[in-house]
């Protein structure tokens, strides 16, 4: 029987940064299905970012191997080009990702590197600029953009390359509520309409609980737990070990069940809105 070709597959991946004794990744094995929304959670230094860099071929695992779309990553020029086309990373700090002062130049960079014809590049860049709502500030220099605007450009940078897997490293960090909402609605649209596989590192338990199909809990370079949001967030020991609190809605729901105000039928509510609806029923 043919093995299923997972979107991303890690086999016993280990990585240690130079000059460090501790392993940043300690034989991590993980299979991620296509079209899923996966939240990666865990404290700083738990290995999320390192794992992301391995998926994109920036870091080469010292042990184990990464497979993208069922093919092992080849660390040759062509192999890396292929992997980086399939897996796009939006970095946490847009100031570390945007290298050009011009929004247009910035967005054209990735797709130009894929060797696409100039005319098509221009079309694609225009399209992503209008889709992402960048038009109002497209002529501004990068240093005059707000944090949220830079984030939108950083996402557009990657989307223009049409990746199959989109990796977002804490996309909502340091954004104001308006832009956080905007970025999240874009992510939602990408996963629903375009069927992208989305991997997102986040510290926001409430959001991960509401958004993700699955949560991967990481701790000290290992996968502590993986499962549906209910499984992972319901496991208080694992959550505590990863220094995470339970989602507010879950805590409230449990309390309401205990007090006999609600009865445990159907799925547990994932958002406060769900819970409100249950209460009003």
């Amino acid at each position: 029987m043919k093995e299923k070709d997972w979107a991303v597959e890690a086999e016993q991946v280990s990585y240690t940064y130079e000059g460090n004794d501790k392993k940043a990744l300690d034989s991590v094995s993980l299979k991620i299905d296509r079209g899923r929304k996966i939240a990666f959670m865990g404290g700083n230094g738990s290995g999320k970012s390192t794992l992301f860099l391995c998926m994109n071929g920036i870091l080469k695992p010292q042990k184990g191997r990464m497979l993208i779309g069922g093919k092992p990553v080849e660390y040759t020029r062509r192999g890396l080009l292929d992997v980086r086309r399939k897996v796009g990373i939006v970095f946490q700090e847009p100031d570390n990702q945007l290298f050009s002062a011009s929004v247009y130049q910035e967005i054209s960079f990735g797709i130009m590197n894929l060797g696409v014809e100039e005319e098509q590049v221009r079309r694609e860049v225009e399209q992503v600029i209008s889709e992402m709502g960048i038009t109002p500030f497209r002529d501004q220099p990068a240093h005059a953009l707000s944090g949220g605007q830079k984030k939108l450009v950083a996402v557009a940078d990657i989307l223009v390359m049409h990746p199959e897997v989109l990796v977002l490293d804490e996309p909502a960090a340091a954004l104001d509520p308006k832009h956080r909402k905007l970025v999240r609605s874009i992510v939602e649209r990408l996963s629903e309409k375009e069927g992208l596989t989305i991997l997102m590192a986040t510290h926001d338990v409430d959001y991960a609980y509401a958004w993700a199909d699955e949560i991967v809990l990481m701790h000290e370079g290992k996968v502590l737990m993986r499962g549906t949001p209910d499984e992972v967030c319901g496991d208080e020991d694992a959550m505590e070990q990863a220094n995470l609190e339970l989602p507010a809605v879950m805590r409230l729901y449990r309390r309401l069940l205990k007090a006999g105000i609600l009865s445990a039928k159907g799925d547990s509510p994932r958002t406060l809105e769900d819970l409100e609806r249950r209460i009003s029923e």
Partner: protein
């Protein structure tokens, strides 16, 4: 520098084709320099002020303030040319100063004035370019002129990151000030030093993250980007050509 950058992003001539503006500035600069007549310089200067201030919308006060910077240097160096210290008075002017005179000849005064005028004309050409054309557009023109890619890439990165560097530096200074880091001369020196080292360390870290981020988008050692081009307009090209012809006329006349 930041003022100039802000002004050129707001300029009304910002979206005029960059090659046109570049060509205009360079040609006019050349005419202004090779001409022997102050008339050419005067024409160049006034047309540039008209274009930058009236057409481009740069506030006149700002423009004057910007002109003051080179003016200081210019006036000093012109003074050196015009004013001599001599035992005998020359024909233009002479101020007795003890035994000798602070004096100058008519020809040297003329020469000094022409030089000063030419220099202001030349400065106005460069100000025209830098107040109407944004850096990324200038880089686009340089690329067309086949300036080595390395130079252009360096300029592009420096232009982007100099603002981040200044932002970080000012944030560090604010946090130092809020902890009395500048209360006297000694602490000021020490604070400045530690800010420098913090900046260096951060820049190195940042550059490695940036490199990763660029590699993640298939960077292979050459930065390939597309720039937006504004179409050149025939009307504008004809105007520039006509104007340069007139200038050339005054140049030839000044050489006769």
């Amino acid at each position: 520098m930041i003022v100039i950058d802000k002004l050129c992003y707001q300029s009304g001539l910002r979206y005029v084709n960059a090659s046109e503006k570049f060509l205009y500035a360079v040609l006019t600069l050349a005419m202004c320099i090779i001409s022997r007549s102050i008339l050419t310089a005067a024409a160049v200067f006034s047309v540039n002020v008209f274009l930058t201030v009236t057409k481009g919308g740069t506030p006149f006060g700002r423009y004057l303030k910007l002109l003051l910077v080179p003016a200081a240097f210019l006036l000093m160096s012109t003074a050196v040319l015009v004013i001599n210290i001599s035992g005998t008075p020359l024909d233009a002017f002479a101020v007795p100063l003890g035994k000798c005179y602070l004096t100058g000849s008519v020809s040297s005064v003329k020469e000094g004035l022409t030089l000063c005028g030419k220099a202001f004309g030349a400065v106005s050409c460069l100000y025209f370019l830098s107040l109407t054309t944004v850096m990324t557009d200038i880089l686009g023109v340089m690329k067309k002129l086949h300036v080595p890619g390395l130079v252009i890439e360096l300029m592009m990165l420096i232009y982007r990151f100099i603002f981040l560097l200044m932002e970080t530096a000012s944030a560090i200074t604010v946090s130092q000030n809020s902890r009395l880091g500048n209360k006297d001369y000694r602490t000021r020196i020490r604070s400045f030093g530690s800010m420098g080292s913090a900046l260096l360390v951060r820049s190195i870290k940042r550059s490695s993250v940036l490199y990763n981020a660029m590699e993640a988008r298939c960077y292979d050692g050459e930065i390939r980007v597309l720039s937006e081009e504004r179409p050149a307009k025939w009307k504008e090209i004809l105007c520039i050509a006509g104007y340069e012809c007139i200038l050339l006329g005054t140049v030839i006349w000044s050489w006769l």
